[in-house]
Symmetry: C2
Subunit: 188 residues, 2 copies
């Protein structure tokens, strides 16, 4: 929600600017149009031997549930660098051989997720400030009932499908929230 | 640049919030932290028979140069829907069989580009308000010297490389601006 112009401090109005087809917050004083756009979450599936690295969240939302290292991309970094940074912040883990694994759209919260596969350097990781614990898990250890986010569950499913098939590809999926709060997942 | 809090209208300060490692615009009155994040540009390579659809820009930047249909992703839409919307807005063109083709990071302008391959429905297109003209072009017609953006040139190069190889894959690249203003392109 936007009430005031971040450039000049005047109140903004929600109007459709000339030549546009959407409502925007516009400043009547300095005429700045304040566009609001989706945010990118970027993260990683860190691999070590036959295991992957998961983190138990020490922050809300979903405190205490398991996730892959991921977070909001920052200005001035590449998408891949953001995934590496988040992995270092959440799990003190360094990565090599990073390769794009998936892009997910979650339209109802205006987010896209980009996830990379990567090798965990020396198999070393420990909890960062946002993690209660970190663990290298084999497929049979994945806590499917205690994952933090649907998009993480989908990435893990795709990962093990590809691994079983013996070949990894890059996936694009959309998570669509249903009226009963469950998600429909579509791949394109 | 941000001068005023968009929530309460007070002046903001550029400080490093507790527990953070970056400078953020923070409101001293309502304590809102105003995160600023990269924007997503989403677009398409529309295919029809042996040709693809390009648009000649009727807007700045790069007025009069050729591009693929693409634009800023909007809140509430999926990444793929955004690419289809931009293609309709810029070229009155409908798409089918959309599949992810590339993700590019352009860190120095805090953008990521997502591009889809798709089939142009009925081969029909005409200039939208942001295009001077549109054209279905064979490879030998591509105006390599008059393309609007480096990221578009790279997508077209990858497209024809894949087409020649007989198999399309999903690419991730980074465009890094050099001191002499040229770009270095790295693929991962």
């Amino acid at each position: 929600m936007m009430n005031f112009c971040s450039v000049c401090g005047e109140k903004v109005s929600l109007i459709m600017p000339a030549g546009d087809n959407r409502m925007r917050f516009v400043c009547s004083q300095c005429e700045t149009i304040h566009y609001q756009n989706p945010k990118v979450v970027t993260g990683c599936i860190p691999q070590w031997q036959d295991k992957i690295l998961l983190c138990k969240r020490a922050i809300e939302p979903r405190y205490g549930l398991w996730t892959l290292p991921a977070g909001f991309m920052e200005n001035g970094e590449s998408n891949r660098e953001g995934a590496a940074r988040e992995t270092f912040e959440e799990a003190n883990a360094k990565l090599t051989n990073m390769t794009l694994f998936s892009v997910f759209s979650i339209a109802h919260i205006s987010q896209i997720y980009t996830m990379y596969r990567a090798d965990l350097v020396a198999g070393e990781a420990s909890p960062g400030i946002e993690s209660l614990e970190v663990a290298l898990m084999a497929e049979e250890d994945i806590p499917w009932g205690n994952l933090a986010f649907k998009v993480i569950e989908e990435n893990l499913k795709l990962y093990y499908q590809d691994k079983t098939a013996g070949t990894f590809s890059v996936h694009y999926g959309e998570l669509i929230k249903q009226q009963d709060e469950s998600f429909k997942v579509k791949y394109f």
